[in-house]
Amino acid sequence: MKLLPLAVKSAWNRRLSLSLTILSIAISIVLLLGVDQIRKEARNNFINTLSQTDLIVGARSGPINLLLYSVFRLGNATNNVSWKSYQELSSLPQVKWSIPLSLGDSHRGFRVLGTNRDYFKFYRFAGHRQLEFATGGVFDEVFDVVLGADVARKLGYSVGDRVIVSHGLVSAGFADHDDKPFSVVGILKKTGTPVDRTVHVPLEGISAIHVDWQSGARSTLRLSAVQALKMDLQPREITAFMLGLKNRIATFRVQRQINEYRAEPLLAIIPGTTLSNLWQLLGSFEMVLLAVSVLVLVAGLIGMLTTIISSLNERRREMAVLRAVGAHPHHILLLFLLETLIIVSLAMLLGIALLYLLLWGISPLLTEWIGLNLQSGALDAQQWLFLLAILSLSLVISLLPGIIAYRNSLQDGLTPRL
């Protein structure tokens, strides 16, 4: 292909302005592919987190807020649910099973969930999948702990290790329940849900470590673990609970009953519905993000066009030389298309490289902040098609300077009048 080396060398000659163009298009490609990647991963993560659960109940707040803190471990409850209400409502005739949830503590950045053995029995995700143990088993004693897969992996725990729980969400050392350590009895298999990043303890364990925290701060009494065990560890409050009903058709009725419960202001949500609503919301947000990314791409392409068009005049002599040695105006046009091909191809390679770099860099941060587990695999077919579309679009718009150059060289012949 006789023209390609010419196009390459010509572009290399103008490499400063072209590199900036390449960079700007590369950035827009990072944005487009990045948004797409995050969107797909978020879909896989979020949407499969919880199944087969009819109601989630918490103190009255907003439905999405309740979903986020109870299932995704994001955000916090503003208030708690009394143990009495939990007992009463979970004993309703329509209820088949219930799982209590107690949140608020953390261990080295991972949230601690107080619950009971029913959690491991009834929790479902991704349709019908159950929680399974990689090693060990469910808790028996007050100070037993079951770790999610990512917790164990990141912190290097195995069955038998000791775990100290911090009060609140951040450990700063001085608010640790270090006098009452837990011991790991089980580690769950990876689920791809927030379960992986959770530290599970029995409800009584939460009560035990808070035994001398009743005023909100550690009291001077300092009860030991052994002493704590002797006290009544039944929780007085929990954060939220999940319900499975005998008949799903009764869902609305039970939901209404709980929402109108007089003893305490509570909110019952249908997680399938709230999740779909959340998903729909994110979808609109996603659309906006995608639109912005497309606009950034358009800006990048216009920038490329500007760079090329502004070089047209100074390259008219070059075109005359090429015509003198036998080039036809369509060769000139082709040179411009080739140049665009080079620019956009390099931009794509750079963009993909930057994308992987970025994903590798921010992935752990995203996991910690919003629970998103990004996997940087290869680009999928849809993404390749997308890149192909961008390439085609670029070639089409490069016809503009190409055709101008074509006509110029027809007119100029061997002697451009500049």
């Binding site: 006789k2 010419l6 060398k9 010509s10 290399w12 000659n13 103008r14 002599r317 070059e318 005359a320 030389v321 090429l322 015509r323 003198a324 040695v325 036998g326 080039a327 036809h328 105006p329 369509h330 012949g413 061997l414 002697t415």
Partner: protein, 231 residues
Amino acid sequence: MARVVSLSELRFTWPGSPRPVLDIERLDIDRGQHLFVQGASGSGKTTLLSLLTGINQPDAGKLEVLGQDLAEMSSIRRDRFRADHLGVIFQQFNLLPFLGILDNVMLPCRFSPRRRKRAGDVGAAAHQMLDELQIADGLRTREVMQLSVGQQQRVAVARALIGNPEIVIADEPTSALDSDNRDAFIDLLFRRASEHGSTLLFVSHDRHLAAHFDHRIDLGEINRAQHEMNP
């Protein structure tokens, strides 16, 4: 064949122009000639060259180059014809700044398989041409912009002659050179053109250069379109 260029009743008008810019009854150029065409600016020399090189087509008349009628050819064929049989030298800016010296010399072979074949090993042929045009080895790796105008013009000649095209057209090739170098340049051009068997068509407004040539024409005289304008 003996006649390399033969044109008769050649007429050309630029689109939008009321009058023809070129109206030539007859012009013949024989093989091996070094022809000086004197033309002041505005005499139609640019147009004539554009017709001879196949860039434009005449409105009327016959234009035969190497026995082929350019008026009958499509633009693509004319461009190929030019690549195959013509070498062109401008007054200045002959070379592509983004290519090396050697690549510039080899350029015609990229567009003409015929010339590539005739050149044989194109790289070696390029070095050979640069030897003939007295471009030192050390200069050959430099960038175009680092050469003097005189050196650039000689590289242009090397490019025009690589692969032995039948005709070389030079449009004011010495006008950018200082007078000391002009004669030497023309001398070199003559010798190399003859060695490669090329007919030379040298166009210039400078009548002092005519002395070098044994064949001369004045475009202002043979171009009837100019007679009305300059009676």
